[in-house]
Amino acid sequence: MSGLDSLYQQLILEHSKTRSGGDLAKLPAAATGTPGPGQGGTGQSHQLNPICGDEITLRLSLGTDGDGQAVTEIHWDGDGCAISMASASILSEMAPGMSPTSLRHTIDHFRELMRSRGKLEADEELLQDAAALAGVAKYPARVKCAMLAWVAAEDALRQAEAGQGVSQAL
Protein backbone atom coordinates (compact mmCIF):
# COMPACT_ATOMS: atom_id res chain seq x y z
CA MET A 1 0.00 0.00 0.00
CA SER A 2 1.49 3.35 -0.98
CA GLY A 3 1.87 6.01 1.70
CA LEU A 4 -1.13 7.82 0.38
CA ASP A 5 -3.31 4.74 0.23
CA SER A 6 -2.41 3.84 3.78
CA LEU A 7 -3.46 7.31 4.84
CA TYR A 8 -6.68 7.31 2.88
CA GLN A 9 -7.81 3.76 3.44
CA GLN A 10 -11.12 2.78 1.93
CA LEU A 11 -12.70 2.69 5.37
CA ILE A 12 -11.62 6.25 6.00
CA LEU A 13 -12.88 7.56 2.70
CA GLU A 14 -16.22 5.92 3.39
CA HIS A 15 -16.51 7.29 6.89
CA SER A 16 -15.53 10.73 5.61
CA LYS A 17 -18.66 10.64 3.52
CA THR A 18 -21.16 8.86 5.71
CA ARG A 19 -20.15 10.97 8.70
CA SER A 20 -21.85 8.96 11.44
CA GLY A 21 -22.92 11.24 14.23
CA GLY A 22 -22.65 14.28 12.02
CA ASP A 23 -26.13 15.33 13.01
CA LEU A 24 -25.73 17.53 16.03
CA ALA A 25 -29.35 18.59 16.10
CA LYS A 26 -30.31 15.06 17.16
CA LEU A 27 -28.84 15.48 20.60
CA PRO A 28 -30.02 18.72 22.15
CA ALA A 29 -27.63 20.49 24.47
CA ALA A 30 -28.60 19.97 28.09
CA ALA A 31 -28.84 23.72 28.29
CA THR A 32 -27.41 26.55 26.32
CA GLY A 33 -23.73 26.63 27.12
CA THR A 34 -22.11 24.27 29.54
CA PRO A 35 -24.50 22.34 31.72
CA GLY A 36 -24.07 23.08 35.40
CA PRO A 37 -23.59 20.41 38.04
CA GLY A 38 -26.55 18.13 38.45
CA GLN A 39 -28.11 19.42 35.23
CA GLY A 40 -27.78 16.21 33.30
CA GLY A 41 -25.37 13.90 31.58
CA THR A 42 -24.60 15.85 28.42
CA GLY A 43 -21.39 17.67 27.63
CA GLN A 44 -20.45 19.77 24.67
CA SER A 45 -17.13 20.90 23.33
CA HIS A 46 -16.02 23.12 20.49
CA GLN A 47 -12.56 22.58 19.06
CA LEU A 48 -10.63 24.43 16.43
CA ASN A 49 -7.73 23.17 14.37
CA PRO A 50 -5.50 26.23 14.21
CA ILE A 51 -3.56 24.90 11.22
CA CYS A 52 -6.54 24.95 8.90
CA GLY A 53 -9.26 26.78 10.78
CA ASP A 54 -11.61 23.79 10.69
CA GLU A 55 -13.91 23.44 13.67
CA ILE A 56 -16.04 20.81 15.32
CA THR A 57 -18.79 21.03 17.90
CA LEU A 58 -19.41 17.72 19.61
CA ARG A 59 -21.99 16.63 22.15
CA LEU A 60 -21.72 13.51 24.23
CA SER A 61 -24.26 12.08 26.62
CA LEU A 62 -23.72 9.72 29.51
CA GLY A 63 -26.17 7.25 30.92
CA THR A 64 -26.08 4.31 33.23
CA ASP A 65 -26.18 0.73 32.10
CA GLY A 66 -25.86 -2.39 34.20
CA ASP A 67 -22.19 -1.89 35.05
CA GLY A 68 -22.34 1.83 35.76
CA GLN A 69 -21.72 4.91 33.62
CA ALA A 70 -21.53 4.62 29.86
CA VAL A 71 -21.54 6.90 26.84
CA THR A 72 -24.95 6.78 25.25
CA GLU A 73 -24.61 9.02 22.20
CA ILE A 74 -22.17 11.25 20.33
CA HIS A 75 -23.31 13.81 17.79
CA TRP A 76 -21.34 16.54 16.16
CA ASP A 77 -21.32 19.31 13.65
CA GLY A 78 -18.34 20.53 11.73
CA ASP A 79 -16.47 20.53 8.52
CA GLY A 80 -12.97 19.50 7.69
CA CYS A 81 -10.79 17.22 5.69
CA ALA A 82 -11.44 13.54 5.02
CA ILE A 83 -9.23 12.57 7.95
CA SER A 84 -11.06 14.71 10.47
CA MET A 85 -14.50 13.75 9.21
CA ALA A 86 -13.67 10.07 9.15
CA SER A 87 -12.15 10.29 12.58
CA ALA A 88 -15.26 11.95 14.03
CA SER A 89 -17.48 9.42 12.31
CA ILE A 90 -15.52 6.42 13.56
CA LEU A 91 -15.43 7.79 17.08
CA SER A 92 -19.18 8.42 17.05
CA GLU A 93 -19.77 4.82 16.09
CA MET A 94 -17.40 3.23 18.57
CA ALA A 95 -17.81 5.37 21.70
CA PRO A 96 -21.43 4.59 22.62
CA GLY A 97 -21.44 1.85 25.22
CA MET A 98 -17.97 2.62 26.49
CA SER A 99 -17.45 3.56 30.10
CA PRO A 100 -15.89 6.97 30.73
CA THR A 101 -12.73 5.22 31.87
CA SER A 102 -12.43 3.08 28.82
CA LEU A 103 -13.22 5.98 26.48
CA ARG A 104 -10.51 8.00 28.17
CA HIS A 105 -8.13 5.10 27.93
CA THR A 106 -8.89 4.73 24.23
CA ILE A 107 -8.41 8.45 23.61
CA ASP A 108 -5.06 8.36 25.42
CA HIS A 109 -3.84 5.49 23.32
CA PHE A 110 -5.08 7.14 20.14
CA ARG A 111 -3.25 10.35 21.03
CA GLU A 112 -0.03 8.50 21.75
CA LEU A 113 -0.33 6.62 18.50
CA MET A 114 -0.95 9.81 16.55
CA ARG A 115 2.04 11.56 18.10
CA SER A 116 4.38 8.62 17.57
CA ARG A 117 5.37 9.61 14.03
CA GLY A 118 4.67 6.03 13.05
CA LYS A 119 6.82 4.45 15.72
CA LEU A 120 3.96 2.96 17.76
CA GLU A 121 1.74 0.11 16.65
CA ALA A 122 -2.02 0.56 16.90
CA ASP A 123 -3.78 -1.59 19.51
CA GLU A 124 -6.37 -2.86 17.07
CA GLU A 125 -8.59 -4.40 19.70
CA LEU A 126 -8.83 -1.15 21.59
CA LEU A 127 -9.11 1.12 18.59
CA GLN A 128 -11.30 -1.01 16.37
CA ASP A 129 -12.03 0.93 13.14
CA ALA A 130 -9.95 3.83 14.40
CA ALA A 131 -6.88 1.68 13.85
CA ALA A 132 -7.32 2.54 10.19
CA LEU A 133 -6.19 6.04 11.11
CA ALA A 134 -2.76 4.76 12.19
CA GLY A 135 -1.28 5.92 8.89
CA VAL A 136 -1.91 9.56 9.90
CA ALA A 137 0.91 9.34 12.45
CA LYS A 138 3.44 9.55 9.64
CA TYR A 139 2.01 12.91 8.56
CA PRO A 140 2.64 15.30 11.45
CA ALA A 141 0.76 18.08 9.72
CA ARG A 142 -2.39 15.93 9.74
CA VAL A 143 -2.31 14.64 13.30
CA LYS A 144 -4.43 17.52 14.52
CA CYS A 145 -7.05 16.55 11.92
CA ALA A 146 -7.35 13.06 13.32
CA MET A 147 -7.35 14.28 16.92
CA LEU A 148 -9.95 17.01 16.52
CA ALA A 149 -13.04 14.96 17.38
CA TRP A 150 -11.20 13.00 20.05
CA VAL A 151 -10.08 16.10 21.88
CA ALA A 152 -13.64 17.38 21.66
CA ALA A 153 -14.97 14.08 23.03
CA GLU A 154 -12.49 14.13 25.89
CA ASP A 155 -13.59 17.63 26.81
CA ALA A 156 -17.31 16.88 26.35
CA LEU A 157 -16.96 13.83 28.57
CA ARG A 158 -15.48 15.98 31.30
CA GLN A 159 -18.38 18.40 30.97
CA ALA A 160 -20.94 15.63 31.00
CA GLU A 161 -19.49 14.23 34.19
CA ALA A 162 -19.38 17.67 35.74
CA GLY A 163 -22.99 18.09 34.66
CA GLN A 164 -23.89 14.97 36.61
CA GLY A 165 -21.97 16.08 39.61
CA VAL A 166 -19.55 13.24 38.94
CA SER A 167 -16.02 14.38 39.54
CA GLN A 168 -13.45 13.50 36.96
CA ALA A 169 -11.46 11.41 39.39
CA LEU A 170 -14.16 8.73 39.41
Binding site: S2, L4, L13, I51, C52
Partner: protein, 444 residues
Protein backbone atom coordinates in the same frame (compact mmCIF):
# COMPACT_ATOMS: atom_id res chain seq x y z
CA UNK B 1 -1.13 49.63 -15.57
CA UNK B 2 -1.46 46.08 -16.76
CA UNK B 3 1.68 44.09 -16.48
CA UNK B 4 1.76 42.22 -19.71
CA UNK B 5 1.46 45.37 -21.76
CA UNK B 6 4.13 47.35 -19.88
CA UNK B 7 7.27 47.51 -21.99
CA UNK B 8 10.61 47.20 -20.23
CA UNK B 9 12.27 50.52 -19.56
CA UNK B 10 14.37 51.21 -22.62
CA UNK B 11 13.58 47.86 -24.18
CA UNK B 12 10.30 47.54 -25.97
CA UNK B 13 11.05 44.13 -27.42
CA UNK B 14 11.25 41.88 -24.37
CA UNK B 15 10.12 38.31 -24.71
CA UNK B 16 9.11 35.84 -22.06
CA UNK B 17 11.74 33.49 -20.66
CA UNK B 18 11.50 30.27 -22.61
CA UNK B 19 11.61 26.66 -21.44
CA UNK B 20 15.28 26.22 -22.30
CA UNK B 21 16.28 29.24 -20.30
CA UNK B 22 14.18 28.06 -17.40
CA UNK B 23 15.96 24.72 -17.49
CA UNK B 24 19.29 26.52 -17.27
CA UNK B 25 18.03 28.72 -14.45
CA UNK B 26 17.03 25.63 -12.50
CA UNK B 27 20.66 24.57 -12.31
CA UNK B 28 21.27 27.55 -10.04
CA UNK B 29 18.78 26.28 -7.47
CA UNK B 30 20.17 23.37 -5.46
CA UNK B 31 16.92 22.66 -3.64
CA UNK B 32 15.10 21.90 -6.88
CA UNK B 33 17.25 18.82 -7.41
CA UNK B 34 15.43 17.02 -4.62
CA UNK B 35 13.21 14.01 -4.88
CA UNK B 36 10.06 13.49 -2.83
CA UNK B 37 8.85 9.90 -2.49
CA UNK B 38 11.19 9.03 -5.32
CA UNK B 39 9.59 11.60 -7.59
CA UNK B 40 11.26 14.85 -8.64
CA UNK B 41 10.14 17.78 -6.52
CA UNK B 42 7.61 19.97 -8.33
CA UNK B 43 7.75 23.13 -6.29
CA UNK B 44 4.61 25.18 -6.87
CA UNK B 45 4.63 27.08 -3.59
CA UNK B 46 6.76 30.09 -4.46
CA UNK B 47 3.92 32.38 -3.49
CA UNK B 48 4.57 31.33 0.09
CA UNK B 49 8.35 31.33 -0.10
CA UNK B 50 10.72 31.12 -3.00
CA UNK B 51 13.86 29.06 -3.35
CA UNK B 52 17.35 30.55 -3.42
CA UNK B 53 19.89 30.52 -6.22
CA UNK B 54 23.45 29.59 -5.33
CA UNK B 55 24.61 33.20 -5.74
CA UNK B 56 22.34 34.27 -2.89
CA UNK B 57 23.55 31.52 -0.57
CA UNK B 58 27.13 32.33 -1.50
CA UNK B 59 26.71 36.04 -0.88
CA UNK B 60 25.52 35.32 2.64
CA UNK B 61 28.24 32.76 3.28
CA UNK B 62 30.91 35.06 1.91
CA UNK B 63 29.72 37.82 4.20
CA UNK B 64 30.02 35.63 7.29
CA UNK B 65 33.38 34.28 6.29
CA UNK B 66 34.97 37.56 5.30
CA UNK B 67 33.37 40.60 6.80
CA UNK B 68 30.94 39.71 9.51
CA UNK B 69 30.71 42.63 11.89
CA UNK B 70 28.26 45.10 13.32
CA UNK B 71 27.71 48.09 11.05
CA UNK B 72 27.63 51.87 11.39
CA UNK B 73 29.59 51.85 14.58
CA UNK B 74 33.10 50.64 14.21
CA UNK B 75 36.37 52.07 13.10
CA UNK B 76 37.88 48.68 12.37
CA UNK B 77 38.29 47.06 8.96
CA UNK B 78 35.59 44.43 9.26
CA UNK B 79 33.11 47.02 10.48
CA UNK B 80 33.89 49.28 7.54
CA UNK B 81 33.51 46.43 5.08
CA UNK B 82 30.31 45.22 6.68
CA UNK B 83 28.89 48.74 6.61
CA UNK B 84 29.80 49.12 2.96
CA UNK B 85 28.22 45.79 2.08
CA UNK B 86 25.10 46.65 4.05
CA UNK B 87 24.62 50.07 2.49
CA UNK B 88 25.42 48.81 -1.00
CA UNK B 89 22.76 46.17 -0.46
CA UNK B 90 20.30 48.90 0.43
CA UNK B 91 21.21 50.84 -2.72
CA UNK B 92 20.80 47.72 -4.88
CA UNK B 93 17.39 46.82 -3.50
CA UNK B 94 16.25 50.46 -3.60
CA UNK B 95 17.20 50.61 -7.27
CA UNK B 96 15.38 47.35 -7.86
CA UNK B 97 12.09 48.97 -6.83
CA UNK B 98 12.87 52.42 -8.23
CA UNK B 99 13.42 54.42 -5.04
CA UNK B 100 16.22 56.37 -3.36
CA UNK B 101 18.57 54.65 -0.93
CA UNK B 102 17.36 56.59 2.08
CA UNK B 103 13.77 55.69 1.33
CA UNK B 104 14.29 51.99 1.95
CA UNK B 105 14.03 50.68 5.50
CA UNK B 106 15.01 47.13 6.36
CA UNK B 107 12.50 45.10 8.35
CA UNK B 108 12.24 41.45 9.37
CA UNK B 109 9.54 40.78 6.78
CA UNK B 110 6.64 42.52 5.08
CA UNK B 111 4.44 41.97 8.12
CA UNK B 112 6.90 43.88 10.28
CA UNK B 113 6.90 46.61 7.63
CA UNK B 114 3.13 47.04 7.73
CA UNK B 115 3.24 47.05 11.52
CA UNK B 116 5.99 49.67 11.40
CA UNK B 117 3.68 51.96 9.48
CA UNK B 118 0.65 51.26 11.66
CA UNK B 119 2.57 51.74 14.91
CA UNK B 120 4.33 54.86 13.71
CA UNK B 121 0.94 56.35 12.86
CA UNK B 122 -0.27 55.16 16.22
CA UNK B 123 2.61 56.90 17.96
CA UNK B 124 1.87 60.06 15.99
CA UNK B 125 -1.68 59.77 17.27
CA UNK B 126 -0.53 59.99 20.88
CA UNK B 127 1.74 62.92 20.11
CA UNK B 128 5.05 61.07 19.87
CA UNK B 129 6.38 63.13 17.03
CA UNK B 130 8.15 66.36 16.42
CA UNK B 131 7.10 68.90 13.83
CA UNK B 132 4.23 68.24 11.52
CA UNK B 133 3.76 64.58 12.29
CA UNK B 134 0.22 65.51 13.20
CA UNK B 135 -0.62 64.59 9.63
CA UNK B 136 -0.12 60.95 10.57
CA UNK B 137 -2.30 61.12 13.67
CA UNK B 138 -5.63 59.32 13.57
CA UNK B 139 -8.66 60.12 15.68
CA UNK B 140 -12.30 59.07 15.91
CA UNK B 141 -14.03 59.98 12.68
CA UNK B 142 -10.95 59.23 10.58
CA UNK B 143 -11.03 56.18 8.36
CA UNK B 144 -8.55 53.61 7.14
CA UNK B 145 -9.58 51.92 3.93
CA UNK B 146 -8.45 48.45 2.93
CA UNK B 147 -9.91 45.82 0.60
CA UNK B 148 -11.71 42.58 1.20
CA UNK B 149 -8.94 40.64 -0.54
CA UNK B 150 -6.12 41.61 1.82
CA UNK B 151 -3.67 39.21 3.38
CA UNK B 152 -4.06 39.30 7.18
CA UNK B 153 -0.76 41.20 7.32
CA UNK B 154 -2.40 44.11 5.53
CA UNK B 155 -5.61 43.92 7.54
CA UNK B 156 -5.02 43.19 11.22
CA UNK B 157 -2.39 45.90 11.81
CA UNK B 158 -4.95 48.42 10.54
CA UNK B 159 -7.72 46.90 12.66
CA UNK B 160 -5.50 47.30 15.69
CA UNK B 161 -4.44 50.81 14.70
CA UNK B 162 -8.11 51.77 14.47
CA UNK B 163 -8.82 50.18 17.86
CA UNK B 164 -5.98 52.14 19.42
CA UNK B 165 -6.90 55.47 17.89
CA UNK B 166 -10.68 55.33 17.58
CA UNK B 167 -10.54 55.58 13.80
CA UNK B 168 -12.79 53.31 11.71
CA UNK B 169 -11.76 50.58 9.31
CA UNK B 170 -13.63 50.40 6.02
CA UNK B 171 -13.10 48.08 3.14
CA UNK B 172 -13.61 47.98 -0.58
CA UNK B 173 -15.78 44.92 -1.22
CA UNK B 174 -15.31 42.34 -3.94
CA UNK B 175 -17.66 41.17 -6.63
CA UNK B 176 -18.52 37.50 -6.97
CA UNK B 177 -15.51 36.92 -9.19
CA UNK B 178 -13.22 38.41 -6.56
CA UNK B 179 -12.51 41.71 -8.32
CA UNK B 180 -12.53 45.02 -6.44
CA UNK B 181 -15.80 46.88 -6.81
CA UNK B 182 -14.32 50.15 -7.95
CA UNK B 183 -17.62 51.99 -7.87
CA UNK B 184 -17.76 51.13 -4.17
CA UNK B 185 -14.17 52.28 -3.77
CA UNK B 186 -15.14 55.65 -5.21
CA UNK B 187 -18.04 55.86 -2.79
CA UNK B 188 -15.92 54.90 0.23
CA UNK B 189 -13.10 57.31 -0.51
CA UNK B 190 -14.06 60.48 1.31
CA UNK B 191 -12.43 63.33 3.19
CA UNK B 192 -12.44 61.03 6.21
CA UNK B 193 -10.16 58.54 4.46
CA UNK B 194 -6.68 59.04 5.87
CA UNK B 195 -4.99 55.86 4.69
CA UNK B 196 -5.65 53.53 1.78
CA UNK B 197 -3.84 50.21 2.12
CA UNK B 198 -4.20 47.55 -0.56
CA UNK B 199 -2.36 44.72 -2.17
CA UNK B 200 -0.80 45.06 -5.59
CA UNK B 201 -1.59 41.48 -6.50
CA UNK B 202 -3.61 39.14 -4.34
CA UNK B 203 -1.87 36.07 -2.97
CA UNK B 204 -5.06 34.08 -3.61
CA UNK B 205 -6.64 35.55 -6.71
CA UNK B 206 -3.51 36.19 -8.76
CA UNK B 207 -5.15 39.33 -10.13
CA UNK B 208 -3.37 42.68 -10.49
CA UNK B 209 -5.17 45.58 -8.88
CA UNK B 210 -5.47 48.90 -10.73
CA UNK B 211 -2.92 50.86 -8.72
CA UNK B 212 -3.29 53.95 -10.90
CA UNK B 213 -7.05 54.17 -10.43
CA UNK B 214 -6.84 53.66 -6.66
CA UNK B 215 -3.97 56.11 -6.22
CA UNK B 216 -5.88 58.73 -8.16
CA UNK B 217 -8.92 58.28 -5.92
CA UNK B 218 -6.75 58.47 -2.79
CA UNK B 219 -4.96 61.59 -3.99
CA UNK B 220 -8.28 63.31 -4.57
CA UNK B 221 -9.22 62.88 -0.91
CA UNK B 222 -5.69 63.39 0.42
CA UNK B 223 -5.24 59.87 1.79
CA UNK B 224 -1.84 58.24 2.19
CA UNK B 225 -1.38 55.16 0.02
CA UNK B 226 0.23 51.98 1.34
CA UNK B 227 0.93 49.26 -1.21
CA UNK B 228 1.41 45.64 -0.17
CA UNK B 229 3.93 44.60 -2.81
CA UNK B 230 4.66 41.21 -1.29
CA UNK B 231 3.37 39.33 -4.29
CA UNK B 232 4.38 41.86 -6.92
CA UNK B 233 7.99 42.69 -6.01
CA UNK B 234 9.11 39.12 -6.78
CA UNK B 235 7.16 38.76 -10.01
CA UNK B 236 6.62 42.11 -11.75
CA UNK B 237 9.00 44.90 -12.72
CA UNK B 238 8.31 47.55 -10.09
CA UNK B 239 8.89 51.25 -9.78
CA UNK B 240 7.23 52.60 -6.66
CA UNK B 241 7.93 56.17 -7.75
CA UNK B 242 6.15 55.59 -11.03
CA UNK B 243 3.28 53.88 -9.21
CA UNK B 244 3.16 57.03 -7.07
CA UNK B 245 2.41 55.27 -3.79
CA UNK B 246 3.51 56.78 -0.48
CA UNK B 247 4.59 53.55 1.14
CA UNK B 248 5.16 49.98 0.03
CA UNK B 249 6.32 46.80 1.70
CA UNK B 250 7.77 43.51 0.54
CA UNK B 251 9.55 40.42 1.87
CA UNK B 252 12.90 39.00 0.83
CA UNK B 253 12.02 35.34 1.15
CA UNK B 254 9.45 35.56 -1.64
CA UNK B 255 11.95 37.00 -4.13
CA UNK B 256 14.84 34.52 -4.00
CA UNK B 257 16.22 36.06 -0.80
CA UNK B 258 16.66 34.62 2.67
CA UNK B 259 14.13 34.61 5.47
CA UNK B 260 14.44 37.32 8.12
CA UNK B 261 14.50 40.33 5.81
CA UNK B 262 11.97 42.61 4.21
CA UNK B 263 11.68 46.28 3.43
CA UNK B 264 9.47 49.31 3.65
CA UNK B 265 9.60 52.02 1.06
CA UNK B 266 8.40 55.43 2.17
CA UNK B 267 8.65 58.82 0.55
CA UNK B 268 11.59 60.54 2.14
CA UNK B 269 9.71 63.58 3.42
CA UNK B 270 7.11 61.33 5.02
CA UNK B 271 9.59 58.99 6.71
CA UNK B 272 11.49 61.90 8.19
CA UNK B 273 8.34 63.40 9.65
CA UNK B 274 7.06 60.16 11.18
CA UNK B 275 7.79 59.18 14.76
CA UNK B 276 9.95 56.08 15.21
CA UNK B 277 8.50 52.65 15.80
CA UNK B 278 11.13 50.32 17.29
CA UNK B 279 13.59 52.17 19.49
CA UNK B 280 17.04 51.24 20.75
CA UNK B 281 20.60 51.47 19.53
CA UNK B 282 21.86 52.94 16.25
CA UNK B 283 18.82 55.10 15.58
CA UNK B 284 19.52 58.02 17.91
CA UNK B 285 21.62 61.15 18.08
CA UNK B 286 21.57 61.82 21.82
CA UNK B 287 20.06 59.91 24.69
CA UNK B 288 19.66 60.92 28.30
CA UNK B 289 17.87 58.97 31.00
CA UNK B 290 14.87 61.18 30.28
CA UNK B 291 14.63 61.27 26.50
CA UNK B 292 16.07 60.38 23.15
CA UNK B 293 16.54 62.24 19.88
CA UNK B 294 16.27 60.31 16.69
CA UNK B 295 18.27 60.12 13.46
CA UNK B 296 16.63 60.74 10.11
CA UNK B 297 15.37 57.84 7.98
CA UNK B 298 16.33 55.16 7.25
CA UNK B 299 18.28 54.82 10.54
CA UNK B 300 15.37 56.24 12.51
CA UNK B 301 13.47 53.04 11.80
CA UNK B 302 16.33 50.58 12.14
CA UNK B 303 16.82 50.00 15.85
CA UNK B 304 19.39 47.49 17.01
CA UNK B 305 21.64 45.21 15.05
CA UNK B 306 20.13 44.75 11.63
CA UNK B 307 19.73 41.65 9.49
CA UNK B 308 23.01 42.47 7.81
CA UNK B 309 23.89 39.25 6.06
CA UNK B 310 20.29 38.89 4.98
CA UNK B 311 20.32 42.36 3.42
CA UNK B 312 23.48 41.43 1.53
CA UNK B 313 21.87 38.20 0.34
CA UNK B 314 18.67 39.97 -0.68
CA UNK B 315 20.73 42.34 -2.81
CA UNK B 316 22.27 39.30 -4.51
CA UNK B 317 18.73 38.08 -5.14
CA UNK B 318 17.72 41.42 -6.65
CA UNK B 319 20.77 41.27 -8.89
CA UNK B 320 19.89 37.75 -9.99
CA UNK B 321 16.37 38.89 -10.85
CA UNK B 322 17.56 42.03 -12.65
CA UNK B 323 20.07 40.07 -14.68
CA UNK B 324 17.40 37.60 -15.69
CA UNK B 325 15.08 40.51 -16.42
CA UNK B 326 11.95 41.28 -14.47
CA UNK B 327 9.93 41.92 -17.62
CA UNK B 328 10.89 38.58 -19.06
CA UNK B 329 10.03 36.88 -15.77
CA UNK B 330 6.67 38.63 -15.62
CA UNK B 331 5.83 37.61 -19.18
CA UNK B 332 6.87 34.05 -18.50
CA UNK B 333 4.79 33.85 -15.37
CA UNK B 334 1.80 35.38 -17.12
CA UNK B 335 2.04 32.49 -19.61
CA UNK B 336 2.28 29.94 -16.81
CA UNK B 337 -0.65 31.60 -15.06
CA UNK B 338 -2.74 31.18 -18.19
CA UNK B 339 -1.65 27.57 -18.54
CA UNK B 340 -2.68 26.99 -14.93
CA UNK B 341 -6.08 28.63 -15.12
CA UNK B 342 -6.89 27.09 -18.46
CA UNK B 343 -5.86 23.62 -17.42
CA UNK B 344 -7.47 23.68 -14.02
CA UNK B 345 -10.75 25.29 -15.08
CA UNK B 346 -11.23 22.55 -17.61
CA UNK B 347 -11.37 19.89 -14.89
CA UNK B 348 -14.78 18.80 -13.77
CA UNK B 349 -15.62 20.13 -10.31
CA UNK B 350 -12.61 22.44 -10.14
CA UNK B 351 -13.23 26.15 -9.61
CA UNK B 352 -10.32 28.54 -10.02
CA UNK B 353 -10.59 31.69 -7.89
CA UNK B 354 -10.02 35.09 -9.46
CA UNK B 355 -9.57 36.01 -13.12
CA UNK B 356 -10.67 33.43 -15.68
CA UNK B 357 -8.77 32.11 -18.69
CA UNK B 358 -7.62 34.95 -20.94
CA UNK B 359 -7.87 37.54 -18.19
CA UNK B 360 -4.76 39.10 -16.69
CA UNK B 361 -3.26 37.03 -13.89
CA UNK B 362 0.11 36.29 -12.37
CA UNK B 363 1.62 32.82 -12.21
CA UNK B 364 -0.59 31.87 -9.33
CA UNK B 365 -3.91 30.05 -9.16
CA UNK B 366 -5.92 29.04 -6.13
CA UNK B 367 -8.72 26.58 -6.70
CA UNK B 368 -11.42 24.57 -5.05
CA UNK B 369 -12.02 20.90 -5.80
CA UNK B 370 -15.69 20.22 -5.17
CA UNK B 371 -16.19 17.56 -2.54
CA UNK B 372 -12.53 17.29 -1.56
CA UNK B 373 -11.08 19.34 1.26
CA UNK B 374 -8.05 21.47 0.32
CA UNK B 375 -5.82 19.65 2.78
CA UNK B 376 -6.67 16.35 1.14
CA UNK B 377 -5.96 17.87 -2.24
CA UNK B 378 -2.57 19.04 -0.98
CA UNK B 379 -1.82 15.65 0.51
CA UNK B 380 -2.62 13.90 -2.73
CA UNK B 381 -0.36 16.23 -4.68
CA UNK B 382 2.44 15.98 -2.14
CA UNK B 383 2.45 12.24 -2.60
CA UNK B 384 3.35 12.91 -6.22
CA UNK B 385 6.11 15.31 -5.19
CA UNK B 386 4.01 18.35 -6.05
CA UNK B 387 4.28 21.05 -3.37
CA UNK B 388 1.33 23.42 -3.22
CA UNK B 389 -0.19 25.47 -0.44
CA UNK B 390 -3.56 24.67 1.12
CA UNK B 391 -5.70 26.59 3.54
CA UNK B 392 -6.92 30.16 3.72
CA UNK B 393 -3.50 31.56 2.77
CA UNK B 394 -3.89 34.19 5.48
CA UNK B 395 -6.89 35.59 3.68
CA UNK B 396 -9.89 34.35 5.63
CA UNK B 397 -12.23 37.22 4.73
CA UNK B 398 -11.53 36.72 1.03
CA UNK B 399 -12.28 33.01 1.25
CA UNK B 400 -15.43 33.71 3.21
CA UNK B 401 -16.51 36.15 0.52
CA UNK B 402 -16.08 33.45 -2.11
CA UNK B 403 -18.02 30.96 -0.03
CA UNK B 404 -15.02 28.86 0.93
CA UNK B 405 -13.00 28.26 4.04
CA UNK B 406 -9.91 27.02 2.23
CA UNK B 407 -8.42 26.52 -1.21
CA UNK B 408 -5.41 24.92 -2.86
CA UNK B 409 -2.88 27.25 -4.40
CA UNK B 410 -0.26 26.59 -7.04
CA UNK B 411 2.23 29.37 -7.65
CA UNK B 412 5.12 29.62 -10.06
CA UNK B 413 8.40 31.46 -10.34
CA UNK B 414 11.19 31.94 -12.85
CA UNK B 415 12.33 28.34 -12.31
CA UNK B 416 8.95 26.73 -13.01
CA UNK B 417 8.71 24.63 -16.15
CA UNK B 418 5.63 24.24 -18.32
CA UNK B 419 5.84 20.51 -17.64
CA UNK B 420 5.48 21.16 -13.94
CA UNK B 421 2.27 23.05 -14.54
CA UNK B 422 1.03 20.21 -16.72
CA UNK B 423 1.93 17.64 -14.07
CA UNK B 424 -0.14 19.59 -11.57
CA UNK B 425 -3.12 19.85 -13.89
CA UNK B 426 -3.00 16.13 -14.67
CA UNK B 427 -2.75 15.27 -11.00
CA UNK B 428 -5.64 17.52 -10.01
CA UNK B 429 -7.77 15.79 -12.63
CA UNK B 430 -7.23 12.52 -10.71
CA UNK B 431 -8.23 13.85 -7.32
CA UNK B 432 -11.99 13.61 -7.34
CA UNK B 433 -11.91 10.05 -8.71
CA UNK B 434 -9.35 9.09 -6.05
CA UNK B 435 -11.51 10.40 -3.25
CA UNK B 436 -14.58 8.83 -4.80
CA UNK B 437 -16.32 12.07 -5.67
CA UNK B 438 -17.99 12.38 -9.04
CA UNK B 439 -20.68 14.98 -9.50
CA UNK B 440 -19.98 18.18 -7.59
CA UNK B 441 -20.03 17.24 -3.93
CA UNK B 442 -21.63 13.86 -4.53
CA UNK B 443 -20.22 10.45 -3.75
CA UNK B 444 -19.55 7.85 -6.42
Amino acid sequence: MTMVSTPARGDAQVSALDDDEVRRIRNDFPVLEQEINGKPLVYLDSGATSQNPRSVLEAEQEFYEQRNSAVHRGAHHLAVEATDAFEEARATVARFVGVQDDELIWTANATAGLNLLAYSFSNASVGRAAGDAGRFALKPGDEVLVTEMEHHANLIPWQELCRRTGASLKYIPLDDAGALRLEEAARLMTARTRILAFTHTSNVLGNINPVDVLVRMAREVGALVVLDACQSAPHLPLDFKALDVDFAVFSGHKMLGPTGIGAVYGRSELLNAMPPFLTGGSMITTVTMEEAHYLPAPQRFEAGTQAISQAVALAAAANYLSETGMHRIALREAELGQRLVTGLSAIDGVRVLGPGPGEERTGLAAFDVAGVHAHDVGQYLDDLGIAVRVGHHCAQPLHRRLGLSASTRASTYLYTTSEEVDLLVEAVAQIRPYFGVTAAGATS
